[in-house]
Symmetry: C2
Subunit: 319 residues, 2 copies
């Protein structure tokens, strides 16, 4: 028990914390609402308290912890450990979270993009194991992404590389939350998939999803995938666009960094192989004929723990 | 003179060879038609003869050469030193050029993608000097590209990364030579720019370029840029599409690897600042508003020697 690592997944909704051994095997984990509207001071106090509770529950002393890894949404100045403007936490503006948490715990802290952390987790212990070059997509509110190039996380000039969901695929297409038009994210994130379904129903298209919209006041991507499985035509049409956009994103990612494996995580796994196979079909349809490509497209393996696993594995990395 | 390096730029039309000192300062260079249709054996004999002539002319002995770098068009298995299917050299199929040249010269040989070699040259000694993250585009028959990430060339799983010109920007758009539809290359390479102008004139559009087409039987991108400068409306419209596609390509490249500098080389420099400024305008128009970006878009600095400079600098790298 002498060398342990903490991985934190700081989300707009929940904080997840895990304590891991030096092989990044989980010892204990916990989760709690972020309450981001209370401001960064309260949230950071809470993270420190969660760590203490977790360790004492597991019978581990703080002295055994070598480092803490925090995955948080961007944009941020990750290398400096500062969250600049997290989209889902409006009160987090220029928060030097690395320094603040380090001052509380007296342990080295590293800050990393949340998608990068999950990507690193999948690379080290999940669906990317054994390959040197990988691209990772996680579909939620937006499309998070991570790139592993020659065994290393590709970070870019200021740590904001791998924003692949904001590649423009339909110039002058749908408006994205980022201010661009035609981003992959504006079509194929979980939220955008649900939003396109809602828009279609509101425009008068027939669908079994109309009832879900009426009953719940909203449609989620899970609803779309459920009605897809039940044979609804609109759900099929909506999912098909998601699959085609993700396939084109895969083509573009392949031509950018030539991964051996492209890994999908997040809400879309609920759609299962039906969606994954559709992505593969569209990928083959859009891909060049110049040479055959060895890249594999698959689902992630670690589930919801990828974030804390990856954050802990990154904390181990800097040791 | 004890440590010298040879850089070779093997093109479909010409072979260029340069001898450099350990600071990659040019000592002597030469150029000769490739005659690729004579087949790889003849071409490789010729390369070896060119090197010997170059060295004897410069009063340098073969014993001073530490390594030879060869930049060649892909696709290839670069890590293995094998040209698999160079697009403009149909007789070059599975040619183990590294091994063949090494057997002739008795000196270590490395094989690299031609655009990667030029990218590395610009990074080490040209427009990318002093930055850690850079993207390079060279506009000719196609769009060659290179990516520097954290001071290293990004090669991908099999050495075919950075085929950024084949990012799909208009799904189901123009057919590209690679077999895909809507690649940036199908709109914005030098050849595609000229081709779009030719198509427009053949479709009946009025332009001063019509005369050039009639006189020469073809239009080049240089023609388009000359007529742009003379105020021709069609040339302006054609160049504008080139600029917009390149700008979107820059947005996508930024979101992929977050370069600090994006460098353009090749035929388009003939269009000068008029085209470059148009690219920058479209870039600002298409780019997100989420945060401001520090990336600079500029022309390459080394001109036509970038290929041999980069190949020699890569040969030095592996020493």
């Amino acid at each position: 028990m002498s060398e342990l690592f903490i991985g934190i997944d700081l989300g707009g909704t929940n904080i997840k914390i895990g304590c891991f051994d030096s092989e990044i095997k989980l010892i204990s984990k916990s989760s709690s609402p972020t309450n981001a509207d209370m401001g960064p001071g309260v949230v950071i106090d809470k993270m420190a308290a969660m760590i203490e509770r977790l360790l004492s529950g597991a019978g581990v002393s703080m002295g055994n912890i070598q480092a803490v890894g925090v995955g948080s949404p961007g944009p941020a100045r990750y290398k400096e450990g500062i969250i600049t403007a997290a989209t889902n936490m409006p009160k987090f503006r220029n928060v030097p979270i690395r320094q603040m948490l380090n001052a509380k715990l007296g342990i080295p802290v590293i800050l990393e993009n949340d998608a990068n952390a999950a990507c690193w987790g999948e690379y080290v212990l999940g669906a990317g194991k054994g390959v040197g070059d990988m691209v990772f997509f996680t579909l939620g509110t937006g499309i998070g992404a991570g790139i592993i190039s020659d065994g290393k996380l590709l970070r870019g000039e200021a740590g904001n590389a791998a924003e692949l969901g904001h590649m423009i695929i339909y110039p002058n297409g749908r408006v994205c939350n980022c201010g661009q038009r035609g981003c992959a994210e504006a079509y194929a994130s979980a939220n955008s998939t649900a939003k396109r379904a809602t828009e279609a129903i509101e425009a008068g298209e027939q669908s079994s999803l109309a009832k879900a919209l009426e009953q719940n006041g909203q449609i989620t991507s899970q609803d779309v995938y459920e009605h897809l499985k039940a044979g609804d035509d609109l759900a099929k049409k909506i999912t098909d666009v998601t699959a085609e956009v993700l396939a084109i994103l895969c083509v573009n990612a392949l031509h950018a960094t030539e991964p051996r494996r492209i890994v999908f995580a997040g809400g879309m796994s609920a759609a299962g192989d039906e969606l994954l196979n559709r992505i593969k079909d569209y990928f083959d349809e859009h891909l060049w004929s110049l040479q055959s490509e060895a890249v594999e497209i698959c689902f992630a393996a670690l589930g919801e723990d990828a974030g804390i696993i990856g954050a802990a594995a990154m904390a181990r990395e800097v040791q």
